[in-house]
Symmetry: C2
Subunit: 365 residues, 2 copies
């Protein structure tokens, strides 16, 4: 079977406020890609829209806005991991020869309903994700001695990275004491430990091996895909609340498709919905030993969340997984400007949803 | 590449009223399938939920209700063709070796927002589908002499078929004069020309060739898939309003994957959102000559909409494409009881969305 490549990528500015409609926002990152497609006479066969907004048949509407008539048009949702799920869907449509090229568009506006988990009654009144993040943080602190300062350092790093990302929602650097002194939401989680739900849209273009080589000298290959769903409610995330079991499973599945091991990853986009989630991701992806995540943030040489992560760049739910993938593609293509990781050849995307009850991992070269 | 099979299928009763929650309704047709999976030690790797309801990460929620932990979990929407789109997604996930088995669940409750097309301002105040159906009907009548009685005959046939389907929402037979004398909605469309949006859920199980043969003696093979999106608005359906261009394109694509021609189809599920749409489907799928659809309903030997179609069985938007596929699978398996089409070996599913601006065709053997 043909290998599948990402051959183009783009992202909108991520913003707190926007005057754009959902449709205009979703189309924003696509225009650059479509221009190049026209120049290269490449037709788009599928449009997959990832969003948590409740726009009906949104993929067909976006296709019409963009002036394209794809064979396949689907709108897809799995909450915060909608974006990478859309990439998996596009990958498999091409791999199975139903189409040659697929445009994946992730978009969300800040007011999306996805920010509250009203269905999961196992969370009681804990409908805001910060409550479950606090439970994970306390469990990890008790079991492994992880400190609030180590968590704060994740925020400092990601905000420093976002300073170099002109599409990020936050462009000012912060210090550990800024994080420690920011408003306490739920012990031990403070305001600056949290990602920020915002407006944003990102897009990538996928195709098969033959078309990829016509379009670009440096296709990014999807080498590994891992996905795992433990359920939907907090009570099903894991029996051990210092571990995200779905991430462990997705990571194993993704690496098993490749010859690559966690030690060979040069750059990683991790799902830092809260600082503690990045620390858990280090461990559950196998980037460091279990329990050592707190120290890993200051002691490792791996570059994580170079665009600023969800904490620095912002978190437009349905766009996030696509935006993470855009960043890895730009890094592997040497297009990341001041954020560029030297000599990076292998990247990883980690995207979660619903308190980590499902996870998706991509390995890209 | 392995062939992909549908190895099990089930559907709920379609109803005007229900006391079930969306989740319970969606799980209803799955229980029979899951019991057999447990007996056969077959694990479900993917759950794809098709719905127009605005339930967030619904596929993960349904998975949790069902007590299964799939690798891949996605909720998918393309309005009235969500169901067959979900089948295409499941097909491609298996075909591309990302999973072995996929459960496709289509479900909707009557109050879904999908019944009004509020986005498409090209329709002006014509937000209810009956308005565009009237435009198609008038165009076909003018161009080809199609009569209101021919359209009424489609309703009579489909309601007669539904009489034998214990899951159908309408179980009483009607006459041509019943249709002709029913309330006129928009000239020439009358109440009994219309499908009825209702509650319902349907599910199918897909797998690869190897697993299929372990599960059943009579897998149903997906031989052809065709899909086409002309846009999302009425103004993009077709320049000729007596033809659904997306159906013509999807049909060509589906048949081109097979050695089968339209004349070899033994049983077809057609998207009769309105009687005129079934007449257009005959023509645009190549089952009869263009312009001859009005006569085809009484003069053909092909069995169409044996379960009663959307007009007789009811139209729970996100479930419809799955329900159509359930019927063809039961027919090919000889399980259709009083509806059974003799010696049928080849079936077709035709599912549309948004005034026919997109269409999906499956060819099954």
């Amino acid at each position: 079977m043909s290998k599948i490549a990402i051959i183009d990528q783009s992202t909108s500015k991520f913003t707190k406020d926007t005057s754009l409609s959902f449709q205009d926002l979703a189309c924003d990152p696509c225009s650059k890609i479509l221009k190049k497609c026209r120049d290269k006479s490449l037709q788009i066969d599928a449009v997959i829209l990832s969003t948590t907004s409740d726009i009906q048949y949104g993929s067909s509407i976006i296709s019409e806005y963009l002036g394209i008539k794809p064979k396949i048009s689907q709108r897809l949702d799995n909450l915060c991991s909608s974006g990478t799920n859309a990439i998996v869907s596009a990958y498999s449509l091409i791999k199975s020869d139903l189409c040659k090229t697929a445009l994946v568009v992730g978009a969300d506006i800040r007011e999306t309903k996805g920010s509250r988990l009203l269905w999961d009654i196992s969370r009681g009144s804990f409908t805001l994700p910060v409550y479950w993040a606090a439970i994970f943080a306390k469990a990890h602190m008790r079991k492994y001695g992880t400190t609030e300062e180590q968590m704060a350092l994740v925020a400092v790093k990601n905000r420093e990275n976002a300073y170099h990302n002109h599409n990020a929602v936050f462009r000012n650097k912060i210090s550990i004491s800024d994080v420690m002194n920011s408003k306490k939401y739920v012990e031990p989680i403070k305001m600056l430990d949290c990602s920020y739900i915002c407006n944003g849209a990102s897009a990538i273009l996928l195709t098969n091996e033959e078309e990829a080589k016509k379009y670009t000298d440096r296709p990014v290959w999807i080498e590994g895909i891992g996905s795992s769903t433990e359920g939907a409610s907090f009570s099903n995330v894991s029996s051990d609340l210092s571990c995200i079991r779905s991430t462990v499973m997705a990571s194993k599945m993704a690496f098993s498709m490749t010859e690559i091991g966690p030690a060979q990853i040069d750059v990683a986009e991790l799902h830092d919905a809260f600082t503690i989630m990045e620390i858990l991701a280090y461990e559950d992806l196998g980037l460091c030993q279990k329990g050592k995540g707190g120290r890993f943030v200051s002691e490792n040489s791996l570059v994580t969340n170079p665009r600023g992560g969800l904490i620095g760049a912002g978190h437009p739910l349905g766009a996030t997984g696509v935006a993470q993938t855009v960043e890895i593609c730009e890094q592997l293509n040497g297009l990341a400007g001041k954020r560029q990781v030297k000599d990076c050849k292998t990247g990883l995307v980690h995207n979660m949803s619903a308190a980590g009850s499902s996870s998706l991992v991509l390995i890209l070269t």
